[in-house]
Point group: D3
Chain length 132, copies 6
Amino acid sequence: MATVPLLSDEDAPAESRAIFDEIRAARKTDFVNNFWRALAHDPALLRATWDRLSQVMAPGALDPLVKELIYVAVSTVNGCSYCVHSHTAAARARGMSPEQHAELLAVIGMASQTNALATALQVPTDPRFKED
Amino acid sequence: MATVPLLSDEDAPAESRAIFDEIRAARKTDFVNNFWRALAHDPALLRATWDRLSQVMAPGALDPLVKELIYVAVSTVNGCSYCVHSHTAAARARGMSPEQHAELLAVIGMASQTNALATALQVPTDPRFKED
Amino acid sequence: MATVPLLSDEDAPAESRAIFDEIRAARKTDFVNNFWRALAHDPALLRATWDRLSQVMAPGALDPLVKELIYVAVSTVNGCSYCVHSHTAAARARGMSPEQHAELLAVIGMASQTNALATALQVPTDPRFKED
Amino acid sequence: MATVPLLSDEDAPAESRAIFDEIRAARKTDFVNNFWRALAHDPALLRATWDRLSQVMAPGALDPLVKELIYVAVSTVNGCSYCVHSHTAAARARGMSPEQHAELLAVIGMASQTNALATALQVPTDPRFKED
Amino acid sequence: MATVPLLSDEDAPAESRAIFDEIRAARKTDFVNNFWRALAHDPALLRATWDRLSQVMAPGALDPLVKELIYVAVSTVNGCSYCVHSHTAAARARGMSPEQHAELLAVIGMASQTNALATALQVPTDPRFKED
Amino acid sequence: MATVPLLSDEDAPAESRAIFDEIRAARKTDFVNNFWRALAHDPALLRATWDRLSQVMAPGALDPLVKELIYVAVSTVNGCSYCVHSHTAAARARGMSPEQHAELLAVIGMASQTNALATALQVPTDPRFKED
C-alpha cells in the first residue's frame, strides 16, 4: 500500500539496517515501525530524519509528553493518518492520560474552528501582537 | 482589510458589547482584540465562540501554557497568520520562555517534515498503533 | 508584491487583452481585477481559467449565490487571502445578506472543528455512508 | 482503526448515552454514527459538539441543504475522509440531486485551482475588495 | 468506498465512454483508472478535466517527468492519497529512478519543514523577493 | 511583523553569526534573508536547517532548478507566502524562464483541482498503483 516496498532487516541496505538497530536500542524494543522501513531505501534520508527527530524530541525546555502532544496536533492538521496513529500511541507511551487526550482533542478542534473564522474574516493582526 | 468592518464598542450590538465586557473582565485588561470585533456582527457566533474558548482553554488535565503551545501549532499548520500572532503572544503572556518557543518551533518543523514524508510514501499504519 | 508584474491593458499580450475585454463584457464593468492581470503573462492559462470559471459558476442545478458561498468556503480552508476577499465581495454582489454571511462563517467554523476531531480520532467510516 | 475505542451504548458513560438518545430523537433513526461513538469518551466534548452542530445546521438564512454542501466543501479541502463520506450522505438525505452534486464538485475543483494560482502568484488584493 | 459508484464502460453515459476511449488511445493501454470512472457521472466535468490535463501535462518548457514530480509534490501536501499513488506510478512510468524519487521526497520534506517554520515565525518577505 | 525580532549580525549569537557567514560564502552574496535572521535566536535550529537544506538542494539525481520548482509547488500548497516569494526568486536565479514558470503554475493549479476532485469523490486507489 506504500509507494515503495517496506524493507525488512534482510532487504534493507547495511547502513539502514544499522539505523534500525539504533532505533531498537534507543526505544528499548525490537519493533521498528513502518515509517523507518519505508525510508530505508535512502540511508541518507533515514539517517538525517532519525538523527534530527532524536534531537528534537529529547527532553529540554519542554518535556517529551508535551512534544508528543504538539506532534499529534500538527499531524492532525496536516491530515497524516499514519502520524496521528503513531504519535497518539507515542503520547500514550509517555503517559498521556485519557483526560489529557480529551483536552488535546478539544484544543485542536477549537483552534481549527477559530483559525477558519479568522481566515474567513481576514482579521488584521492587532499591532500589539507584533513583535518586530 | 477584514471582510467585515471591525466593530467598536459604540457600533457593536448590545449583546456583543456585553461579551466585550466579559472578555475584559476575564482577561483583566481594557483591550479587546480584532478577532472579537470582527465576530461581533453575529452575537450568537461571538457568544458560542467565546464561551467555548473559555472552557477549552481553562486549566485542566493540561496546563494553560501547554494548551497555548498546541494552539500555536494548529494555527501554524492551518496557515492562520492572525492566530499565530495572537496565540504566540498569549503563550508568552502565560510564561513561554524563548527556549520553549524554540523547541515548539523545532517540533512543528519536524512534524511537518515527517508528515509530508509519511504521506508521500503512503506508509500503512502498523497494526500495533491501532486502538480499535 | 505578486511574484510576476500585474499587466495593464497596455502591457498585456493582445490575446490576454482580448480576454480582459470579455471579462469586462461579461461582468458589465470596466474593472479587471488583479488575478487576471497576474495570469495575463500566459494567455493559454488565462483563457483556460476564465472559460472554465465562466462555465462552472453559471446558473445551473445550484444557483450562483450558492456557488459563491461554496467558493468562499473552499478559499478559506485553502488559506487563500486574495480569494477570500474577492469571492466574499462576489457573494455580496450576488445578494449575500449579513445573516447569510454569518451562517456561512458558522458552518465553515463548525466543519473545520469536526474535521479536525474526526481526523485526530481517525474515526472509521460507517459502512452505510459508503456508496460504492 | 480509531485512536480510541468506539463506544457502544453499553460502554458509554451515562451522560454520553443520553446524548446518543438525543441524536436518535433529532434524526428519527436508531443509528448513531461512529463520530459520536468516538467522542463519547468525553461527555463534555460530545455535548458541546452536538449542541453547537444542531444550532449551526438548523434552518436559518441558509437552508439546510446549502449548509451541507458547504460542509462537504470544507471537509474536502481539510482532507477529512470520514466527513466527506458522512456529509455527502447527509446532503443526499436532504435532497441533493446528482446534478447538484456534480456542480458542487466542479466548484470545489475550480476554487482549489484558482486558490493555488492566486497563492503561487501572490496576487495582492484589489483595494475594492477590502471592506474595512 | 467512493461517494459515487465507479462506472464501468457499460454503465457510463455514451459521452463519457467516448472519453474513456480517448484516454485508452492517448495512453496506449486498455486500462482506465478509477478517477475517470468516478468523474464519468458528469460528462462535462470529465471532458473539461481530461482535456485540460492533457494540455497541461504535455511536453513543453518543462519535460513530462518534471511535471509528474511537481504533481506528486502538490498531491502530497494536499493529502490526496489517491493522487500520490497514481502520480508516483505515472512518474515511474516516465522514468523516475529510485534516486530521483528519494530526492523528490527529501525536497518535499525539507520544504514542508521550512514552510512551517516561516509561518510559525511569520517572517516578513524581504523586499528584494518582491517582483511587483 | 515576525513573532520574534529579526537579528542583525550585531545582535545574533556568535554561533548564528558564523552561520550567516557560511550562507554568504555559499551563495556568494552579502545578503542574508529574513528567514535565517528569524531562526538565529536558536543556533541549533539554524544550524540543523541550513546544513540539511544545503544537502537536500545540492545537485544530485535531480538538478537544482527542478528542486526549486518542487519547492515552490510545496510552498504554494502549504500557503507559505514567504516561501513562495523566496523560492520563486531562487528558481529565477537558477534560470527558470517565464515559460517554465507558467507551466509550473499550470501544473500546480491542475493538480490542486484533481486532488480536490479525488478527495471529494473518495476515489479508491486502483490496485495496480499500489507498490507494496
